[in-house]
């Protein structure tokens, strides 16, 4: 079975592709202007950010970046398309001939290009009296189209491919939830010789369902000795079947011409200035290779959070990777909901320390688990090891009182004298300790000294 995908994904820009309208309208037809409504005399102005994002995605997908790129008009009549032509790219996509390694194999990427989204048609009213309403808020939102070669071999693989791609792009360009929910895919599938295109499938679940239906339909036909005709089909989400659509024009029938209002863009020189950051799954692949961590575990860690992965990576350079993974997947993941906000350099030190202590045999496994649990909730629980931290604070307090002995005299008549020391320590430690912790330590120390008659 051969499956190739054409993925249409909205880019998370603030404004539309060719005008300054916001990409998030508040109610139907509220984010529109002469340009995205195609009024006579209006003109497109390219959103640079959308171009940069498309270049970034193309680079990420290992595409060759075109030297120069331009836009074309694809003409067809449809009510959601204000100009009755779509500004898209034809001869000069931003990226070509790329590839994405996935499940240990390579899915070739044929092209990546940038285009404008049309408006949205909504059917309302009772059956038989339906009318169409059009919301042009979507008109002109930047869409990136990613076309793969027919290298995918099953409907579930297609879904996994899409899921992975979305994970990567979420990180790469910051897709919003809406961007991901509105991902639309045209899928080409052939079981035998001839391919069939399923148009405009919304979402990943439907992608798998549509392809599965189509795969078994084609298989049944072949078994019955029938020929499969090359055609375009629609996926009916309710009934979960594909149905034959109008016979489709070939790409060339759209009568493409250059978009004369937009110029040539020297995208390859722009591409040189754009760095591709390491995406989560690429990072998983690298860590898996570097430390011999199994795919499932590393994937789970990477998908939890990049901060957690940062911690794993630092841990791996100091302790055996299998131990690191066990702790990260175990106590750290279990407490992640709390740790997520707290895990700074200092806390990372303390947790690593704790793990080191287990390895050295200083404390037990369960003691360490309790400690990590306590750190996660703000370091409340007392264990023997906390005394080290406490002693640091106690030392500071003690030092401060040594330098300001009059506090002890004053304290006897006025307990508020302790505030001086508390203030000093707070300034010095800059929020490292909670105020209640400091108050407690200071009071304890003063009272201890008074009791022990350190001063007379």
């Amino acid at each position: 079975m051969k499956i190739g995908l054409e993925v249409h994904l909205q880019l998370p820009t603030v404004s539309k592709l060719f005008c300054s309208c916001s990409t998030s309208g508040n109610g139907p037809n509220t984010s529109i202007c002469p340009t995205c409504l195609g009024f006579p005399g209006s003109r497109p102005r390219l959103n640079r950010r959308a171009l940069e994002m498309t270049i970034l995605i193309s680079r990420f997908l290992n595409c060759r970046i075109s030297e120069r790129s331009w836009f074309s008009r694809k003409t067809y009549f449809y009510p959601d398309l204000p100009k009755n032509f779509q500004i898209t790219q034809y001869e000069s996509p931003i990226g070509v001939d790329g590839g994405y390694s996935f499940n240990g194999k390579m899915v070739r990427i044929t092209r990546v290009h940038l285009e404008e989204d049309p408006g949205k048609i909504k059917r309302v009213g009772k059956s038989g009296e339906e009318v169409s309403l059009i919301d042009y808020n979507r008109s002109g939102i930047p869409l990136v189209e990613i076309v793969t070669a027919p290298d995918i071999t099953s409907p579930s693989e297609a879904r996994e491919f899409m899921a992975d791609l979305l994970i990567e792009l979420r990180h790469l360009v910051g897709l919003s939830e809406r961007n991901e929910q509105t991902v639309r895919v045209d899928a080409n599938i052939s079981v035998g010789e001839e391919r069939v295109e399923i148009k405009n499938i919304l979402g990943l679940k439907n992608l798998e369902r549509g392809l599965s239906f189509e795969a078994s339909r084609q298989a049944k036909m072949l078994k019955a000795g029938k020929r499969i005709v090359r055609e375009t089909r629609n996926f009916d989400e309710e009934r979960r079947v594909t149905t034959s659509a109008r016979s489709k024009e070939s790409e060339e029938d759209y009568g493409y011409i250059l978009e004369p209002d937009l110029g040539m863009y020297h995208v390859s020189s722009m591409a040189k200035m754009i760095q591709v950051p390491e995406t989560p799954l690429k990072r998983a692949e690298r860590l898996s290779a570097e430390y011999g961590i199994d795919r499932t575990s590393i994937r789970q860690i990477v998908l939890t959070s990049s901060t957690l992965t940062d911690f794993l990576e630092r841990l791996c350079s100091n302790v055996p990777p299998d131990i690191a993974v066990t702790w990260v997947l175990g106590p750290l993941s279990a407490n992640w909901k709390y740790l997520e906000r707290r895990l700074d350099e200092d806390l990372s030190d303390r947790i690593e320390n704790t793990i080191q202590m287990v390895i050295r045999g200083d404390i037990t496994d369960s003691e360490a688990r309790m400690r990590i649990g306590a750190f996660a909730r703000g370091g409340g629980a007392e264990t023997t090891q906390d005394s080290k931290e406490r002693s640091t604070l106690a030392e500071l307090v003690s030092e401060c009182i040594d330098q300001n002995p009059q506090v002890l005299f004053d304290f006897r008549s006025n307990k508020r004298a302790a505030n001086f020391v508390i203030g000093q320590i707070m300034r010095e430690t800059k929020g490292k300790y909670s105020s209640s912790e400091i108050v407690e330590t200071v009071n304890k120390e003063i009272e201890r000294r008074l009791k022990d008659r350190v001063v007379t």
């Binding site: 009024f39 006579p40 009568g255 011409i257 110029g263």
Partner: protein, 425 residues
């Protein structure tokens, strides 16, 4: 001549000058119909940049001038709103497609007409109506708010009775505008006086010209040589012959996509039966409201970009355009200007136009099309009178050198007297 006119002139005149705009330039306070029934009643939500800039400079917009539907025509006989008549002889054409603009510039003293040229729509009517018409370099004047014909060819310019009037107002409308990216790569406008030594006359432009029109052009060249001490050289520019077909392929290809948006939705006229399938609805609105020439050009353009023909026509035309540009560059390296007659004949009578086939009308543009295809600035000035009708001379200069054109026109006005018909103010 006007497709819509101001109701009454304001009494307190704080306005410094008055002007009109061709009806394909968007205006908030006047309909903008571009000569087409399909835009009947359309009031744009914004002013075109050149209109806005003239208003801001103290201009009073007095009306919108009639034109061939969407600029499709050479005689202004393709408007959905009547036919403007030539001020020199009302039985004759104003020329097109900025026919109303030329008539207004001719009849009204101290009047600035904004015109638009795609393939000669400023030069042609300027020549037929005996006025000066400046078509700037492509990209010099913002096209924001111009109803598109061929976006890679459209240029907003000025028609007026003299070059000095144009010189006063051209800097106002020129200059980059972020709303039109194609206007944002221009060098500064330089209107300083320059020395003009040499004018080239292409041999290819001397064929198929009415003898009397040719005579007046040659006399004008003699005056330039004798009184302005400018050398006249005959040159050969073979690609000029291919400019016309290349132009019509590109202009109609772009036009056929530009006109796709007019379908009775969102703006302009509405259809009668909204229960129809959208395809039938669009078709009925378009069949009913587009004129014959608009339909012809949509078909021509759609054909040129169709599969199987795209390589032979559209892509070929793009490469011819490059050849024409480089041929001009070669000539303009040696010479300051290229001169030709503007039109091969004087303004024809309407009765003559009726007998012309479309291809003959298209051919009448063979002198105005080449500089338009190349995006070069050009100016048409009256250069003689045949049967009391004006003839025009078209001068072409290098990209961005509108200053040279206004300069030569000014020199020309020092040695040649323009005539205007009895003024009707």
């Amino acid at each position: 001549m006007f497709s819509e006119l101001i109701d009454e002139m304001p009494l307190d005149s704080s306005f410094k000058f008055n002007f009109s705009a061709k009806d394909n330039l968007c205006t908030i306070d006047f309909q903008t119909r571009a000569g087409s029934k399909i835009l009947d009643g359309y009031r744009p939500p914004f002013d075109a940049t050149p209109v806005r800039r003239l208003r801001r400079a103290g201009g009073l917009l007095v009306g919108k001038t009639n034109m061939d539907e969407f600029g499709f025509g050479t005689f202004c006989t393709n408007s959905g709103y009547g036919v403007p008549r030539n001020p020199f002889d009302i039985e004759r054409s104003c020329g097109g497609s900025s026919g109303g603009a030329a008539a207004a510039a001719c009849l009204l003293e101290d009047h600035i007409s904004l015109g638009v040229s795609t393939g000669g729509s400023i030069s042609c009517p300027a020549s037929f109506c005996g006025v000066v018409g400046l078509t700037p370099t492509y990209g010099r004047v913002s096209r924001y708010g111009l109803v598109d014909y061929g976006n890679s060819l459209d240029k907003v310019g000025i028609l007026a009775r003299s070059s000095s009037m144009i010189k006063n107002h051209f800097p106002t409308i020129a200059g980059s505008d972020p709303m039109d990216p194609t206007s944002c790569a221009q060098p500064a406008l330089d209107l300083d006086e320059t020395q003009i030594d040499s004018i080239a006359v292409p041999r290819e432009a001397m064929e198929n010209i009415h003898p009397a029109v040719m005579d007046s052009f040659l006399r004008a060249l003699d005056i330039m040589r004798d009184r302005l001490s400018i050398d006249i050289h005959e040159v050969t520019v073979p690609s000029l012959r291919f400019a016309l077909p290349a132009y019509y392929v590109l202009a109609t290809s772009e036009a056929s996509t530009n006109l796709a948006r007019y379908c009775g939705m969102r703006f302009g006229v509405k259809g009668d039966d909204v229960t129809q399938h959208f395809n039938d609805y669009f078709s009925s609105v378009r069949s009913k409201n587009f004129g014959k020439e608009a339909k012809r050009r949509i078909l021509l353009g759609t054909y040129s970009r169709m599969v199987g023909f795209r390589n032979r026509y559209y892509l070929k035309a793009l490469s011819v355009r490059q050849t024409v540009i480089s041929d001009y560059a070669r000539v303009l390296k040696e010479h300051d200007l290229v001169a030709t007659p503007t039109m091969p004949f004087i303004a024809p009578r309407f009765s003559e136009i009726e007998r012309m086939k479309p291809i003959e009308m298209y051919r009448a543009d063979f002198l105005t099309v080449p500089p338009n295809l190349a995006g070069l600035p050009h100016i048409s000035v009256p250069c003689g009178y045949v049967d009391s009708m004006p003839t025009g001379m078209q001068l072409v200069s290098q990209h961005w050198s509108e200053g040279v054109l206004l300069n030569i026109a000014n020199m020309w006005e020092g040695v040649f007297q323009y005539r205007f018909p009895g003024a009707r103010q």
